[in-house]
């Protein structure tokens, strides 16, 4: 056998030279390899990090490339927040290196993260602005595009009102982009602004925030390393959040932790479980109550925790009594013994954490599902500590940030709501008169028996949700609770195939007068339907072509630098929004606080200055301490953070900070709050990242005793539950100027702070609170006295303001168990979020029509690791597309055999609405149980058997096309957030 080079030497006759060049290299490499084995093994974090730096030095000696620079950004796919380290030479992204120093991904990536370099090379990107003229795509300039679109928007505004233009934003925006888009909607005068959170965790945010205060993951991916029991429900982290599995699997090994997976499918995550529980889709509440039945029956609940920190657990106890093991087994299919074992493990082997995703949230009872889980965590005392908590894995790189900044129909940035006080707060921050915003909103005339709405009332009314945008276009105007139907969609970075009832969406698309798709890739909005005119495609760079901060699922905020300029004629979000604001006439007011810098096509606001404005106003969520400087410092010193606690190392520039200053990061940047790694954690000082449950719903609640007398229960924490070293050793309400005065702590305010508070408060200075005080003084003083600015309250087991204050099992709208529908029916028909929500009518009609007989298979949907969201971006990435070339349906071998279906053969999947059908490949597997089918939701470009490749502008069609599962999925909307029921419907499958 030859040794290296010999053959080449023979050929080229350069023996001497080659050998000479090689020998030293070999020596170095060998010594290096001995050490580098440790890197891959990741034996210990500290060791790995040190070796990471040794490695770099070694590499520098041997390395080829001079003149390449390293730029760090954040992976634009899921919410884990992996650092991407890009090697850039001459403005070209030439290589990707593992970011060992990131405490989150420690060099790792999944298939998507390891292939992101392709995104900025992709020849399938939209290369220049285009418009559709009589069915043909025409290239136009940015100026023409902005002018024509702007004129049309103004025309629609005059004719139908501001609410007729739907502003659909993106979880891919940076924080600054998301915030700017929300601000843009405010200036335009509509609350019809939404993004992907609607279809992923809107029900989580609603459920969790209504329980204990904030709508976010309570702990972090890293913290799961501390858990002794990890319970997944409706989460397939192995495919959806692969790098999170690094922490979970290592934690499982080190702690010898229980990993329990509840899922209708034996997923790649379930394959690594210590206990896998298969249950019927859409019966989550019955499962949780089934567990809690055992917990209450055996007294495994955490009584001290409940007494001190939970309100209304007895109401839950009463409901749970109905869910005896037999009932639960009948509903869910989970045997009693398994349920009991899992319940005991979760309650006793602590800390226990509960991880959930779309399997829980995408239901017509999504909010109630989330509430049930919160109750399980509260009952077992598994919130607010290391290794426990509600670990809600979000789906997009910045879906947390985009949610935080109010790309949402019912919030202003940082969850300020739509009430007058909130509007006035942001008007102050933006330095624009409050009345200006009032003037921008529509007046809504009385119709359909509903009273008229003033501009102010409309401004304070939640908008229309993205899950049902087409209903707002299709329904009779009378039914839609705004001035007119939807006439235009302005879509920035959102897929068109991610919500159910696509046949209805096609009709809606045909009704729109204007459709603008601003995206790196033409989304399914473009390929669907038969639009011939009034459609614009604007090329936008990916976030790798844009600087800004991103908030990952664990609330850590990471700064990403632009890797390369946007390719082709693509522009960044900031510039595009600036240009449209200019065209629409409010740029000067909207952008006046920003530093304008020279961008690719002209002046644009700098991301740093937008973040500074966020810092100026984001008090309610603690988005005030994360200045661009602090975030950049963290990125620069990623290696100084502990992998488990996320704390910055002693003596380092980031000493004591939690990595990425996870919100709430109270006070001003100068206050140096470290951020909050674990929410509601009373074992730390508030100033040092501790917290309590947030009293948001009053201080007391009236309860009627059995004898008819009434008592007032406190909603503040009791029994000595408070954050470490708090000067108030009891529950307390949120801090306002009035509270400070009562405590005598107002003297601690500096004169400057007091001046600001006085300026805001005017005559009612006592009403200025920790959320509206722009000086940060109230927060500072509270924290310096060891108190949490928002107060110290109880979590609510009974959330009386929600449709089901204590969750009850309700059969899915399309239930395979018609016999259970009568006992566990859907909610009565109601009007939610501007349109009717016909839970019961649709469910009843399905039962009466015998849908469950003609469509006997339960259909659920989910993610593949290779693709993300609507999938146009990832299906255009050749390195990913190669790995999943066909849309498929997973079908159990028994069902396949009964239908004569072979693995890999084409089948027709048909759904109960609109005669919907999809031609896909069969994947015959035991992953799904008998009577269950699964389809991934990332595909598009085929519609009911028709290839729509020709609808894409030439050269921008994704490599892989396929049927969308949402052609089949059906009606069903959560009453709180209008989350669609994407995770359970019925279907039939036949060989094609």
């Amino acid at each position: 056998m030859l040794i290296k080079r010999k053959s080449a030497d023979v050929q080229r006759g350069k023996l001497q030279a080659a050998m000479a060049g090689l020998s030293s290299g070999v020596m170095d490499r060998r010594t290096f390899l001995r050490r580098s084995g440790l890197v891959a093994g990741g034996v210990a974090a500290a060791g790995a990090l040190q070796i990471g730096s040794v490695r770099k030095a070694e590499a520098a000696g041997l390395g080829p490339a001079t003149g390449t620079k390293i730029v760090k950004n954040i992976c634009t796919h899921c919410s884990v927040g992996c650092t991407v380290k890009a090697e850039v030479a001459n403005g070209v992204w030439v290589g990707q290196e593992p970011a060992w120093e990131s405490p989150i991904n420690r060099g790792s990536h999944c298939a998507k993260g390891a292939s992101v370099r392709e995104l900025v090379h992709g020849d399938r990107r939209i290369k220049y602005p285009m418009k559709l003229v009589d069915g043909q795509w025409q290239r136009i300039s940015w100026d023409v595009a902005i002018n024509e679109i702007g004129d049309k928007m103004l025309e629609i505004r005059n004719k139908s009102g501001a609410d007729s233009v739907y502003l659909l934003g993106s979880a891919k925006f940076s924080n600054e982009g998301a915030y700017l888009f929300r601000k843009f909607a405010a200036f335009w005068g509509t609350n019809n602004v939404d993004h992907q959170a609607r279809i992923c965790h809107s029900t989580t945010v609603a459920g969790v925030a209504n329980t204990w205060g904030y709508g976010a993951m309570t702990n972090s991916y890293n913290d799961i390393r501390n858990a002794k029991t990890v319970l997944f429900m409706g989460s397939n982290a192995a495919e959806a959040h692969p790098v999170a599995m690094q922490h979970i699997l290592e934690g499982k090994e080190v702690q010898r932790a229980n990993v329990i997976v509840f899922d209708p499918r034996l997923t790649r995550t379930a394959a690594h479980a210590t206990d896998y529980v298969r249950f019927r889709s859409g019966t989550d509440i019955a499962v949780i109550w089934g567990m809690m039945w055992h917990i209450f029956k055996n007294g495994w609940e955490d009584k001290n925790f409940i007494a001190a920190r939970v309100h209304g657990m007895d109401d839950v106890r009463k409901e749970v009594e109905k869910y005896d093991p037999k009932t639960v087994e009948d509903i869910t299919g989970v045997p009693e013994a398994q349920m009991k074992r899992v319940a005991e493990t979760f309650a006793k082997v602590k800390p226990a954490t509960f991880i959930w995703c779309m399997g829980v949230t995408q239901h017509s009872v999504g909010t109630a599902n989330v509430r049930a889980i919160c109750n399980l965590l509260l009952a077992t005392g598994n919130v607010g500590g290391m290794g426990n908590g509600a670990n809600i894995f979000r789906g997009h790189c910045n879906v947390q940030g985009a949610t935080d900044f109010g790309l949402d129909i019912s919030n202003l940035p940082c969850y300020y709501g739509l009430v007058e006080g909130a509007w006035r707060h942001w008007a102050r921050v933006w330095d624009v008169p409050y009345d200006y915003f009032v003037s921008r909103f529509d007046e809504v005339p009385a119709k359909g028996g509903r009273p008229a709405r003033t501009r102010k009332a409309n401004m304070e009314t939640s908008g229309h949700t993205s899950t049902r945008w087409f209903d707002a276009a299709n329904m009779p105007a009378e039914q839609v609770d705004q001035r007119d139907n939807l006439k235009a969609m302005f879509v920035m970075g959102h897929g068109g195939n991610t919500i159910p009832r696509m046949p209805d969406a096609v009709k809606g698309l045909e009704k729109l007068e204007l459709l603008v798709v601003a995206d790196p890739h033409p989304t399914n909005f473009v390929s669907l339907g038969g639009r011939k005119n009034g459609t614009y495609l604007l090329p936008i760079g990916t976030q790798f072509e844009c600087s800004g901060s991103r908030t990952c699922s664990n609330r850590s905020v990471q700064w990403g630098d632009k890797v390369v300029e946007p390719i082709f004629e693509a522009a960044n979000d900031y510039w595009v929004m600036y240009k449209f604001a200019q065209k629409l006439g409010f740029a000067e007011a909207m952008f006046k606080n920003y530093e304008m810098v020279q961008g690719k096509f002209g002046m644009e606001p700098s991301a740093e200055s937008i973040l500074r404005e966020i810092n100026k106003g984001g008090w309610s969520t603690g988005y005030t301490g994360q200045s661009p400087e602090r975030l950049k410092l963290h990125m620069q010193h990623q290696d100084k953070f502990d992998m488990v606690s996320l704390r910055g190392a002693k003596g380092s520039p980031v000493e004591n900070d939690f990595y990425g200053l996870p919100w709430p990061c109270w006070g001003t940047p100068e206050f140096k709050h470290p951020g909050t790694h674990i929410l509601y954690n009373t074992s730390l000082e508030a100033r040092n990242g501790g917290g309590t449950f947030r009293p948001r719903f009053g201080l007391t609640r009236e309860r009627t005793l059995p004898d008819g007398s009434k008592v007032n229960d406190t909603l503040l924490a009791e029994n000595g539950s408070y954050s470490l070293n708090s000067e108030i050793k009891d529950g307390y309400p949120e801090f306002t100027m009035g509270v400070l005065k009562k405590l005598g702590w107002d003297k601690d305010l500096t004169p400057a702070e007091l001046a600001t508070i006085t300026a805001i408060g005017g005559n009612a200075i006592d009403g200025v609170s920790w959320t509206t005080d722009l000086s940060g003084g109230i927060q500072r003083v509270a924290l310096e006295h060891g108190c949490v600015p928002y107060g110290n309250g109880k979590a609510r087991a009974n959330a009386w303001n929600l449709p089901d204050p204590v969750p009850v099992h309700r059969e899915p709208i399309y239930s395979p168990r018609v016999d259970l529908v009568a006992k566990w029916p859907a909610r009565p028909d109601e009007r939610t979020l501007r349109i009717p929500n016909l839970h019961t009518s649709v469910q009843k009609a399905a039962v009466e029509k015998g849908i469950a007989k003609s469509f006997p298979i339960v259909l659920t949907s989910g993610r593949l690791v290779e693709y993300e969201g609507g999938g146009e971006e990832t299906r255009s990435n050749k390195w990913l597309a190669e790995l999943q070339q066909d849309m498929f349906v997973e079908i159990n071998p028994a069902d396949a055999a009964a239908r004569g279906i072979k693995d890999g053969a084409f089948v027709w999947v048909s759904g109960p609405e609109n005669n919907a059908k999809a031609r896909v490949k069969a994947l015959v597997t035991e992953r799904v149980g008998a009577g269950v089918a699964f389809m991934p939701f990332h595909f598009g470009g085929f519609y009911q058997g028709q290839d729509q490749r020709g609808n894409y502008p030439k050269g921008t069609d994704p490599i892989v096309l396929g049927e969308s599962v949402n052609v089949i999925t059906t009606y069903g909307y959560d009453p709180v957030t209008a989350m669609h029921e994407g995770k359970v419907t019925l279907c039939q499958i036949a060989a094609a």
């Binding site: 990993v259 379930a270 206990d275 013994a337 398994q338 597997t925 008998a930």
Partner: protein, 335 residues
């Protein structure tokens, strides 16, 4: 290597066995995927019972071959290809050459005992000779290019160096792939035009009993083809068919149905080839150097009457009756 063993045990059997071993009933109360994890040891144990066991799983890329995670059977094929096959080839080729040399030294050139008569008889017409030479020329190149695969790196590579050797090997490979087709045509024609004269008969036994006249004196009677030639014929036809079939699969691997089959066909191809090389070497010897007058049969097609009488007496008689013998060689223009 056990030739026949290859086709029988393909992946499915093993995987079914493995699957059956691991599957838990779906109604099971306790499912612990960590405890019930499939282990490599199970596969290694399965290998002890069946060396051809493959470990297959599911993949998403369309390349079905990639679904095989491990296939240690390659080791067997390697051992065969580098060891057994190499030795068989060496023995067959070199052994035959040695034998022929020895035979030549001992027996010398077999002369026409009666001496040339000067009169000739048409043994093979133009088409027959075309068929023969088509097949023969293809075979020689196929054989040499084939032997290069087995012996080239031991014999030729050290002599000419890797670059030149690769160039030669590439030419050899292309010649092999494309000359296979005329060769197959030749084999088919060979079969068609000579089958009627190659049906085994009682006279063949007689011929074998007398050692074919190669040993000792005297010539056993024979029709158009004697038993020795019939052996060549059937070797060529059957061997050629085997080479064609196995070669077809090697050329179109997609039809072979997996690497184990390819290993099998490759082994068939190798073994049959070297055996044929050995037989053809003998054929070449006896048709040229080894026997006076034999070459003319495929050269001009006209053989000396005395040669024909000595080796194919019965055939000559038949031809005489039909009047196929040329009276005066001088009047017979050469072809």
């Amino acid at each position: 290597m056990r030739l026949g063993a290859q086709l029988r045990f393909l992946a499915l059997g093993l995987m079914l066995a493995l699957a059956a071993g691991f599957a838990t009933p779906s109604s099971a109360q306790q499912i612990n995927p960590t405890a019930s994890a499939v282990k490599e040891q199970q596969f290694l144990d399965a290998l002890k019972g069946n060396k051809d066991a493959e470990l297959q799983g599911r993949i998403t890329i369309p390349d079905g071959k990639a679904a095989t995670l491990e296939r240690p059977a390659g080791r067997e094929w390697r051992a065969f290809h580098q060891g057994t096959m190499f030795r068989i080839a060496a023995i067959a080729v070199l052994g035959t050459l040695l034998l022929l040399t020895a035979f030549y030294l001992i027996r010398g050139r077999i002369r026409i005992e009666a001496g040339p008569s000067g009169r000739t008889i048409t043994r093979f017409n133009g088409f027959e000779r075309f068929t023969h030479w088509l097949t023969a020329s293809c075979f020689i190149i196929l054989a040499l290019s084939g032997l290069n695969v087995t012996f080239g790196k031991a014999v030729l590579l050290p002599l000419i160096g890797p670059a030149a050797f690769t160039d030669i090997s590439i030419i050899a490979k292309w010649s092999h792939n494309y000359l296979a087709w005329p060769f197959m045509v030749g084999i088919a024609l060979t079969f068609l035009i000579w089958i009627k004269d190659n049906i085994p008969s009682g006279a063949d036994l007689q011929w074998f009993a007398q050692g074919g006249g190669l040993i000792g004196k005297g010539h056993p009677a024979a029709r158009r083809f004697n038993a020795g030639q019939k052996v060549i014929f059937w070797s060529v036809v059957i061997g050629g068919a085997a080479l064609s079939l196995s070669g077809f699969y090697l050329l179109f691997p997609a039809y072979a149905g997996g690497v184990l089959n390819l290993q099998f066909w490759n082994s068939v191809h190798g073994i049959v080839s070297v055996l044929m090389v050995a037989i053809i070497l003998a054929h070449i010897y006896i048709g040229s150097l080894g026997m006076e007058g034999a070459f003319d049969a495929m050269g001009s097609g006209e053989v000396d009457l005395n040669w024909a009488r000595e080796h194919h007496s019965l055939w000559v008689e038949e031809e005489m009756r039909k009047g196929g013998v040329h009276k005066d060689p001088a009047l017979q223009p050469a072809e």
